[in-house]
Symmetry: C2
Subunit: 441 residues, 2 copies
Amino acid sequence: MTDHRRLRVALLGAGAVGSQVAALLLKHADELADRAGASLELVGIAVRDLDAPRETDLPRELFTTDAESLIVGADIVIELMGGIEPAKTYLLQAINSGADAVTANKALLATHGPEIFDAADQVGAQVYYEAAAAGAIPIIRPLRDSLAGDRVRRIMGIVNGTTNYILDRMDTEGADFADVLAQAQALGYAESDPTADVEGYDAAQKAAILASLAFHTTVPLDAVHREGITSIDKATIDSARHAGYVIKLLAVCERLDAEPGVDGQESISVRVYPALIHRNHPLASVHGANNAVFVEAEAAGNLMFYGAGAGGVQTASAVLGDVVSAARRHIAGGVGVAESTRANLPIVPIGHVTTRYQITLEVDDQPGVLATVAGILSEGRVSIATVEQTVIDDAALGVPVARLVIGTHKAREQDLSDTVDRLAASGVVERVVSVLRVEGD
Amino acid sequence: MTDHRRLRVALLGAGAVGSQVAALLLKHADELADRAGASLELVGIAVRDLDAPRETDLPRELFTTDAESLIVGADIVIELMGGIEPAKTYLLQAINSGADAVTANKALLATHGPEIFDAADQVGAQVYYEAAAAGAIPIIRPLRDSLAGDRVRRIMGIVNGTTNYILDRMDTEGADFADVLAQAQALGYAESDPTADVEGYDAAQKAAILASLAFHTTVPLDAVHREGITSIDKATIDSARHAGYVIKLLAVCERLDAEPGVDGQESISVRVYPALIHRNHPLASVHGANNAVFVEAEAAGNLMFYGAGAGGVQTASAVLGDVVSAARRHIAGGVGVAESTRANLPIVPIGHVTTRYQITLEVDDQPGVLATVAGILSEGRVSIATVEQTVIDDAALGVPVARLVIGTHKAREQDLSDTVDRLAASGVVERVVSVLRVEGD
Ligand SMILES: NC(=O)c1ccc[n+]([C@@H]2O[C@H](COP(=O)([O-])OP(=O)(O)OC[C@H]3O[C@@H](n4cnc5c(N)ncnc54)[C@H](OP(=O)(O)O)[C@@H]3O)[C@@H](O)[C@H]2O)c1
Ligand SMILES: NC(=O)c1ccc[n+]([C@@H]2O[C@H](COP(=O)([O-])OP(=O)(O)OC[C@H]3O[C@@H](n4cnc5c(N)ncnc54)[C@H](OP(=O)(O)O)[C@@H]3O)[C@@H](O)[C@H]2O)c1
């Protein structure tokens, strides 16, 4: 090891991720110093409870409950506490005292990103957040740097491991949502309160971060349309399989062309929902708790980034990569590069989005019903691509009922949902079983 | 568009990649300026023949045959001529005159990388080469930055599109090597002289670049063990399929632990050869001319990067990403970050490498032959995992012959090849049909 300049590193949080970051910083100190061109001196670790057990073996004297004193004089501050406050206050304090900041805090960046990036820009500091979008998968640098000379058309991400694990097991084992969720909780794949995952909140935060980068546009979290997976049952999965699809919770970030004839601007759509995807699409083979981000760019074509989207030690890898980058920048000098949000494209509501759909209906099994349904779709500007009708042999339903699975051509979401309302009210439709978007082509 | 500082960009070469880079620089000038924080002024394009037809529509007045004058005063020089000279002279001239350099030239970097990086380091310039390792797939930044805090154990890359296309068609269509190669040439997927691709030279250059980055070690091209795919025939592919494998030309970059008991150092191995890979490994589903790089890291776990490994416009995306990075660095100030080669691990010859093997033999169909073969393997420290024996019903062979397909446990390459020599000389083996490594587990 060469003689290096020393950089003071302060760590806030020693939970699942922070305890691994601290352990790796200490264990690989020499190697990291060689790579960074500076020795990374861990000056302290702020926690709430000094006596709490830690997942890795760390020197007691590093721990403190006084985060603010730790930040003063640090060159690099790593925020791994999570939540909005006090994480935000500490991060701003770090930036304003001249440190570079590293964080994995997707909740914070998705809600207060612009304020934090502006503060960094004011003082020429840099905020690194590779771990905030897809855990260990390097996706921030590819979007921010590698694709900076290209134009991203669309991102489709499987960015939540818990929901992918649940949907994958439902698909491969024919199990029901509640059973798989209970098992996932027992195995530690899902939290005891699974809302953030299964209702798509976690994925929506990541979608906001990915879309901001890909489209050089500030994407507020409330502009992200969000639906979870709790309504996906065994029957929906089976019917998807039957049609050659698999269901994935997708974060879709899409560039929309200016409306033809209007002297308008491009816009973007950012949305999270369970969608059908063809079994031969690369995203269909992302199993278990793995994540993947599929990027369609104008020049580069289709790219996919695959790996672990969470996990303490996996996420620590991404955090440490950011720490090395921050150290190299300290050595090289110069100011930080501001987030590129100059495009600021308008974000359209979900009603303006165009996709394909699969509509599953239970209808009266009588002559003329298909014609009525087809007529309502056509009036609603929803064009039919495929229809499959099966008679349901269920005495409990009383009347003879048929199931219609309709695949549509691309339709506007607003037209589609108006049309589904009209179908539901038509008198011939007993039940709208499901309406799912089809992505990936 | 905001008012920006102007940076002078010189382009050397307007072939498959350069003509696309020039077109995109001009077409997206405003957008690129917003992202880079500087307007990128294309000051000229150096070519050999001013009158040659170009793939994109470019202003005639930009063209010149005087590359040297173009370089003088440029802030960013993009080298897309290919070959060693004069590319190397021009690149060094650019660096020494204070410009940042962008290149896609894998041949040059794999042979003269250290000299070029040293020159850049001397003057605080930066060399960007995202397009040199896997075309449009962002892999340089992930290895150099995102994984800088982790330890890469192994990389397995499908980094040559031509050979992947050939092997994939042989696999899916049962076609023979020569036929598919001829078709690939007709379709423009393979060059009229296919040596660089099918003999693994192109993949070896990329392997050297990837291993240098992953292991922070200078890897000279002649330290890369290289075998091509010309010996892979239909029978080999069929027998691989039968055993649940697919054959891919892999660039393998591997970290080897210090030998147990020796107070030694870790070492690395870099090799390119056709290998068997399980059909459920993510690399097995990389079809056609696509590329993918599979990375196993200690903390991050398994990652995969997938996309187009070549193509003029795809590669131009990676080049332009580098141009934007170079521009941002110019704006931000500071010196370039030197290549991290401080680990300088020893590179072991192929004989020291340990993998699994599949050995296919034609043996006399007589009692005791299997025992003899098993004895020779065991003496040679090659342990058998699976054996399959089939009788070959071929009158032309005269004597009754059986085919033995032996899967081994992990064995040392030197032991294996000595053992295969002994098998060949044993008197019971009629023919060593093939010896293939098995990778990916
Ligand atoms: N876990 C993952 O797989 C993963 C993946 C990607 C991103 N992330 C992100 O990484 C961040 C950290 O996640 P985590 O799973 O490591 O969280 P965690 O296990 O809950 O750990 C949080 C840590 O922060 C400390 N802390 C909380 N509030 C504090 C305060 N007011 N003052 C001082 N210390 C405080 C806690 O101290 P005590 O231990 O004393 O309570 C604990 O050590 C979050 O933003 C999360 O979204 C996590
Ligand atoms: N093509 C791909 O898909 C791909 C993918 C990854 C990386 N790369 C790398 O990118 C680089 C460029 O590849 P390419 O396919 O674009 O090559 P190319 O089509 O052969 O183009 C080479 C260009 O360089 C010019 N040139 C050659 N020697 C010159 C000299 N002495 N002075 C001035 N100009 C000279 C040529 O001028 P004229 O046109 O006047 O002859 C031509 O415009 C290579 O290093 C290659 O390995 C290519």
